[in-house]
Amino acid sequence: MSLLEVSGLHAAYGPVRVLHGLDFVVDEGEIVVILGANGAGKTTTLRSLSGTIPVDGEVRFDGAPIAGRKPEDIVRLGMAHVPQGRGTFMDLSVDDNLRLGGYTRPVSEVEEDKAHWYEVFPRLAERRDQAAGSMSGGEQQMLAVARALMCRPRLLLCDEPSLGLAPLVVREVFERLAEVNQRSGTAVLLVEQNANLALGIASRAYVLENGSIVMSGSADELSEDEAIRRAYLGM
């Protein structure tokens, strides 16, 4: 049994149907990437997993059906979502952002985890009393990831962490993600346009086009694939 099992996932915004029956799985501890162009339905996929939009189809997390449950309940089951645009609490301090990340955990754990993630992300420690909105995009992305990790998730959903960041910063963000995955064993489901870096840290990948999965395989296989190379790797 996989950690996350999705089958026949449909979603729509009002009358506009976006996802047309997705099937995919994420195993415990692995990094999976969903590649797709703008408008392919990547963000919608993550949003339907975390419960922010209504869905049709079957979603099992750790064996339990979660489709149709509210985001605040899903996060308690151990699935954290770093939304597109990071979703930081801009006018709250870095420290408050992290505390909120651990909202579902007991207070003692929160202090412990905060210390841990400050260690992993020393730049956040330097800025702990600063308003999150005043930090650079890269720092905010780190904060968003750290905040999501504060709830000790078993699966981290990451929505285009590279969006709007300088290439160097993007590289660092991906390195951090890989590091986090290795150190804590948290599985990561990443949606990205930047296939190059994403495939570099992922073990498996899916390709999403117009709301359907058109290809899947190991990260290595896909990075070798001619079509993928042309479409996403710019070669």
Binding site: S50, T52, K70, P71, E72, V75, R76, A80, H81, P83, G85, G87, T88, F89, M90, D91, L92, D96, R99, L100, G101, Y103, T104, V107, A131, G133, S134, G137, R147, A148, M150, C151, G164
Partner: protein, 293 residues
């Protein structure tokens, strides 16, 4: 000089009442980004409930406490039953403005239907004594109200900055979707925010009722000044509400020096908030809008 000092102190007293109601407005604004035009009428309504208890022999303090509990329940109910209906895709601040104006009319009409149109007298929480300080009289009531206001501010500061509830209230105000994603039950938190606001309102209602007669109009004018206070201080800042309230109270008193403002007390207040908003749209203590990327 004595007159000046007296006015300063009077301004403080009046300002404390404005500030107290403004605090409630700020709490709602902070948690839901909304302005509750029914804040004053809800306070009036709970003050009537307190009056009923006093009329039945309960002590003023107990009745006031009970009114605060009523207020909390009323706030929670209003949020859950009405305001919450406008969350999600239908969300529109204007719709909610109109709903709160509807509530304003509703409570304002309901009170005289239940309790009659004649004014009621509500006893003073702090007695009628006064202290003389070198020619300047300070009423014990003034000291009491200012004291309660300070206590409110300290409590709110502690609550917002150092409790999980305060943190979640701030989080919900800052980013509702992210709040849900970290596991906050946004609906309940908003309801609690409205409850606390109405609770504070209930307290200020009893303050006002101890100074003027209790009718359905109890809070109407006070609400305008409380709005002015919150606007001046910044709708998202409790400190701003208090400072704004005091400033407006003092300005109102000092305006007596100017003939133009005799019987025209809203003018200086109006001009003041207009100027402040033009220079600093977020108010004196409000946080500027953080631009979203």
């Amino acid at each position: 000089m004595e007159l000046f000092l007296q006015r300063l102190i009077d301004g403080l007293a009046v300002g404390a009442i404005y500030a107290s109601l403004a605090l409630g407005l700020v709490i709602i604004y902070r948690s839901s980004g909304l302005i509750n035009f029914a804040q004053g009428e809800m306070a009036m309504f709970t003050t009537y409930l307190a009056w009923m208890l006093v009329d039945n022999g309960l002590s003023v303090w107990l009745a006031t406490s009970a009114a605060m509990v009523f207020g909390f329940v009323l706030g929670v109910l209003v949020e859950r039953l009405l305001i919450a209906q406008f969350s999600g895709p239908k969300e529109s601040p204007l719709a909610i403005v109109i709903v709160t104006i509807g509530l304003f009319l509703f409570f304002n009409g309901l009170a005289p239907w239940i309790w009659g149109t004649e004014g009621k007298s509500f006893p003073n929480l702090f007695g009628t004594g006064s202290v003389d300080l070198g020619g300047v009289t300070i009423k014990v009531q003034t000291l009491g109200i200012v004291g309660v206001l300070l206590a409110e501010v300290v409590l709110f500061y502690l609550m917002f900055q150092h409790t999980k509830l305060g943190l979640s209230l701030r989080a919900v105000a800052s980013n509702r979707e992210s709040s849900r994603l970290v596991g906050l039950r946004v609906g309940s938190i908003l309801a609690v925010g409205w409850g606390i606001a109405a609770m504070v309102g209930a307290l200020s209602g009893t303050f006002v009722a101890s100074r003027i007669d209790l009718t359905q109009n109890l809070m109407q004018v006070v609400l305008i000044y409380a709005f002015a206070a919150a606007t001046l201080g910044g709708f998202d800042s409790p400190v701003g509400a208090v400072v704004g309230g005091i400033i407006i109270g003092v300005v109102e008193q000092m305006a007596q020096y100017v003939d133009l403002f005799d019987g025209f007390t809203l003018l200086p207040v109006f001009l003041l908030i207009l100027v402040v908003l033009l220079v600093r749209p977020q108010g004196l203590f409000g946080r500027a809008e953080v631009s979203r990327v």
